[in-house]
């Protein structure tokens, strides 16, 4: 560890590793620090990613792919099932990963490209001079060090402090977080070709239960509930226990994972003088699927490139780094905004309304449908209930829209 770098990246999750790799590829000197002793562990993820998007960042490798998913089965509270096949359910189907190995493989990519990687090293504060972030204070094996940097990247996940240290308030409101618990289970008997989603306010208030195949007879069985529905004696883990006791009394628990997913939608600001926030630290996870791996990698790629551009033009001010802000908002930001509309609509529904939505799709063939197509089919059949979703379809020509309620 030197005492000066072009770029210091805080956090070696997907966001941080891709940022570090991209910046190092451009020839910048890069330090990637991670507070944990093992990158990727403990897991706080259901590990589902879209194949197409994943390939943009890394060649799929059997060492970290557990299952290849063909489709999704979504259940309304009364058990009505909607089945969607390959290519269609969007970011939540594709591969199911082994994050512990995947995250380390990404960090390895960064290291291979020339970034320095150091674990058991935690950022404790920023070095700020004249309103510019100039570096980071770290604690490495209990010793404090100051490390200078032209640009600091906060890739420090859901628990991010980096933004707050730079004056960006990233605190999440209870209504803007899904609080989650998951078991890795064997012997659930699920079909390994599908991801399963169970909706219902009884089983998962303003959230859902997911079951993602993990190969052999294993599966991630998890639940997310909206933060404002949690507490008062019942937390995510209690809902999960109810679900698995009822549904899989004979399954065995091999691992427990817990975590929070930001579902606030885009936050106001993700840059400051000498600083960018990426991934969960920038609250870039998808408000409806809870997926954040791809968005984190996309943002990391943009941030790495912008770091290079800004340093090349010798201007690391917030104005200059705004290039990152603009680029991510134009791409993943659009999707996040759309998903927020869907989330706000769906989390309000009663079980009765969810059931009637399920029934309205009876007889519709989803064999070649995207998530947007599915939403459009729902919209057409339930305009009154789903009126707020209309903006999602406005820009899509193929839906010859008639905007009469």
């Amino acid at each position: 560890m030197k005492n000066e770098y072009d770029v210091v990246v805080i956090g070696a999750g997907p966001a941080g590793s891709i940022t570090a790799k991209t910046a190092a590829e451009k020839g910048l000197s890069v330090l990637l620090i991670e507070k944990r002793q093992e990158i990727g562990d403990p897991v706080r993820c259901a590990e589902g990613v879209s194949k197409v998007w994943l390939r943009k960042h890394i060649e799929p490798d059997h060492r970290w792919i557990c299952a290849d998913v063909k489709g999704s089965r979504i259940f309304a509270p009364d058990g009505t099932m909607i089945e969607m096949s390959e290519e269609i359910a969007g970011a939540e189907v594709g591969y199911v990963l082994e994050r512990k190995i995947f995250d380390r493989a990404l960090a390895y990519e960064a290291a291979k490209t020339g970034a320095e990687v150091i674990v058991k090293t935690r950022a404790t504060d920023l070095i700020i001079e004249n309103n510019f972030v100039k570096g980071v204070k770290v604690s490495h094996l209990g010793q404090s060090y100051d490390i200078k940097a032209k640009i600091v990247i906060g890739a420090d996940g859901v628990e991010s402090k980096v933004g707050r240290w730079a004056g960006i308030n990233t605190a999440i409101k209870p209504v803007d977080i899904e609080t989650c618990a998951q078991y890795l289970m064997s012997n659930t008997g699920i079909d390994q070709n599908y991801c399963y989603f169970y909706l219902g306010n009884e089983i998962a208030p303003a959230g859902y239960v997911w079951i993602f195949p993990k190969g052999n007879d294993m599966a991630n069985v998890g639940i997310g509930i909206l933060g404002n529905k949690s507490g008062n004696g019942k937390h995510a883990i209690d809902y999960l226990n109810d679900f698995v006791n009822d549904k899989y009394p004979d399954a065995k628990i091999l691992e427990v994972d817990v975590g929070g997913v930001p579902v606030s939608g885009s936050i106001e600001k993700t840059v400051a003088n000498g600083l960018m926030l990426v991934g969960d630290a920038a609250r870039q996870s998808d408000p409806i699927t809870g997926g954040g791996i791809i968005n984190a990698m996309e943002a990391g790629k943009i941030a790495g490139e912008v770091a290079y551009n800004a340093i090349s033009r010798n201007n690391v001010s917030a104005d200059s780094l705004n290039e990152y802000e603009e680029k991510w908002r134009e791409t993943i930001g659009r999707e996040i905004d759309n998903s927020l509309i869907v989330k706000d609509t769906f989390t309000k529904f009663s079980d009765k309304e969810l059931n009637s939505l399920g029934h309205s799709l009876k007889g519709v063939n989803f064999s070649s449908m995207s998530l947007l197509d599915l939403l459009y089919a729902l919209f057409k059949a339930n305009k009154k209930l789903l009126w707020e979703l209309r903006v999602l379809f406005k820009t899509v020509v193929k839906y010859e829209l008639d905007f009469e309620k």
Binding site: K161, T179, G227, S230, D257
Partner: protein, 58 residues
């Protein structure tokens, strides 16, 4: 003054509590949660913790 109690045997060190603390009083150090004097006992962390590991002392 210690204002909250984190049951380290229950905690899954996920950092969700850190993300919702309005006061910035929490820190996920490595595999444990630390709380500092900025805590206002608002109880938000205890509410959203996925495993119910946090207790607010009034």
């Amino acid at each position: 003054m210690v204002t909250i109690n984190v049951n380290k045997f229950k905690c899954g060190y996920c950092g969700a509590c850190v993300s919702v603390c309005p006061a910035g009083a929490l820190e996920l150090v490595e595999t444990w949660i630390e709380v500092n004097e900025l805590c206002t006992s608002c109880g938000i962390c205890a509410k959203i913790c996925p495993v119910g590991a946090i207790e607010v002392k009034k």
